[in-house]
């Protein structure tokens, strides 16, 4: 994992793999925030957990 230009079996370099991962994490965070908001509304406006 020392050569940053090495092409790995998936056809990606380390930098490209990191870029894919950054986007996946960001998407997960946005999805999580929307889901958290939806759950908050469900908690307030439904008998859930009451």
């Amino acid at each position: 994992m020392s050569d940053p230009d090495k092409v790995w079996p998936t056809g990606l370099t380390e930098g490209e793999a990191e870029e894919v991962h950054r986007n996946l994490i960001q998407g997960t965070q946005i999805f999580g925030m929307i889901a958290a908001l939806a759950h908050l509304l469900a908690y307030i406006y439904s008998p859930w957990l009451k």
Partner: protein, 65 residues
């Protein structure tokens, strides 16, 4: 970023759909479980129909012509 190098050994075209499918199936299963094990989700999805059916007086029968 931690674990970012996973995409050096797992093809994103395999790993990303797998990840998204896991999230989708997991959350769908939780909501189906809620729907089948509680009464209030069904009631909520029905809206006011249950209440309306109880409180609305029976419609008069149509007069013969």
């Amino acid at each position: 970023m931690i674990y970012g190098k996973i995409w050096c050994v797992v093809k994103p075209s395999t790993g990303i759909p797998l990840f998204l499918a896991a999230v989708a199936i997991g959350s769908f299963a939780v909501h189906v479980a809620l729907l089948t094990n509680t009464t209030w989700v069904k009631k909520y999805l029905n809206g006011n129909t249950a209440v309306a059916a109880q409180t609305m007086p029976m419609a008069p029968a149509e007069a013969p012509k």
